[in-house]
Amino acid sequence: MGITIKGKNGGGFEIVVSAQTAFSELKESLINKLRKNKDFFAGTDAKLVFSGKEMTTAQKRDIKRLLKMEYDITKVTFCGELSKPDSQVAVKQGQAKESIASVSDEIQLVSKNHFNAKSVFVAHTLRSGQRVECAGDVVILGDVNVGAEVIAGGSVAVMGTLRGLVHAGANGRNDVVIAATQLLPGQLRISGKIAMFPENKQALEPEIAEFKEGSVVIRPLRARRTKR
């Protein structure tokens, strides 16, 4: 795995990173490729666009710093850079036991080639810093703690407390759901859209979140039967 540098029409280069590449490997490959072609990339005219791998803000900062200091390249962008969200929307309690979280932000969708597993079953709690990626569905038998991440092309079910980050339908599918015994995330992501939750959201029963007509709707897992 590594990186491929493609020339783009209209100047600049696209650096395609295989999503399976670890960040440290990416840095090393980048340094090697740049060193070998120093003259080619020198100067502030070079525009670099990174694509193919979702990187954290810290990682992007690291890359930008490296490119500026070593090669004086300042025009660096990453595919799908988020603009500052202008409105965080709270989850509204609908009348019929449904809550609606309006969706305000977007995040880069992951390409279908990113994943290599069809479905994943994790038989333990995901701790902070642990990340699970899968093209299909993911089931976690345990909690997803804050700082843990689940990125799935399909749906995600957490048989425990969901406090961390889950992105279902991460490659564009929106016929996906996120369910948890206790749904208490700070934010949920479905199919590239981000929905925020209030601090004081309660989790009194198992809940399921899905995408309905542009909103993320939360409802109890077990449908209530109304008495006639």
């Binding site: 709690t125 701790r127 902070s128 810093g129 642990q130 909690d143 703690n145 804050v146 700082g147 407390t161 406090r163």
Partner: protein, 264 residues
């Protein structure tokens, strides 16, 4: 708890070094032979907290580099019979030692000592990797703060990924009064998130400040509630059960005493 214990946390300043010093001083009272290793190279503190800084001749880096024999770097604590310290180096950094060297050192020390307690630096980089290299059990120290718990969770995950599953939690600097007011995380919430066994709770105690500055481990102070808590942790390490301290008790008594003497 096994015989090689690493005391770690992720977060800095939660009480790892204090814990190591006190566990060492307390364990030898039960007749065990204990060696403490400071792996915080470049920022050594364990020697200070034990009051042994003036006795340092050789350190951990000298040992792994072969500059001295292991025996020469072992500082015998004259107050606590059976307690030894291998201090860290102050003028080097954490790259001066690697996990392989630590494993070898621990193996050598196991032949002579009943317990090896390793003081881990904050963070998850080389210092952490060195500290956990030879360890068989871990005590994760945390304070009742959201950020500390977050870091503790990360650490527990990393310990598990590195084969150390015998892991328990020590909650330090608890303030029962703040917990009651809802300003501080409660024990149950922390255990709910972290999902590991509790080896002890050490309440906030201002006597710790003096004990650190003067190099006198608090376990020797029979009036201190933190000292009592550490002594209980040692009992649990040795395999016995003892209920958690009623921290309210200490506060109530102190408050009553204060009232009595203030003549109100």
């Amino acid at each position: 708890m096994q015989n090689v214990i690493v005391v770690t946390s992720g977060k800095g300043g939660v009480g790892k070094t204090t814990t190591v010093a006190n566990l060492g001083a307390g364990l030898v009272e039960s007749g065990k032979k204990v060696v403490l290793i400071d792996t915080d190279i470049g920022l050594r503190n364990l020697d200070v907290v034990l009051g042994l800084e003036n006795r340092i001749v050789y350190d951990l880096v000298d040992v792994v580099e072969g500059t001295c024999r292991l025996k020469q770097a072992l500082i015998k604590d004259k107050r606590f019979d059976g307690l030894f310290l291998i201090p860290a180096a102050q003028t080097r950094d954490k790259m001066a030692v690697n996990p392989e060297q630590m494993k070898k050192l621990v193996e050598e020390l196991e032949e002579e000592f009943d317990y090896i307690i390793i003081d881990c630096p904050a963070g998850i980089e080389q210092g952490f990797k060195n500290a956990i290299a030879g360890a068989k059990s871990a005590i994760v120290v945390t304070v009742p703060e959201v950020s500390a718990v977050r870091d503790a969770d990360r650490i527990i995950g990393l310990l598990s990924a590195n084969g150390i599953d015998d892991c328990c939690l020590l909650v330090n600097r608890l303030r029962p009064d703040l917990v009651k007011r809802g300003d501080m995380l409660a024990l149950d919430d922390m255990l709910d998130i972290l999902g590991v066994n509790l080896i002890g709770v050490v309440p906030e105690d201002e006597n710790i400040i003096r004990s650190s500055n003067f190099g006198e481990p608090i376990v020797t102070n029979l009036k201190s509630i933190a000292g009592k808590a550490y002594r209980n942790v040692i009992v649990r390490i040795l395999g016995d059960n003892v209920p958690l301290l009623d921290m309210e008790e200490g506060n109530k008594f102190g408050a009553r005493l204060k009232k009595l003497f203030s003549g109100k």
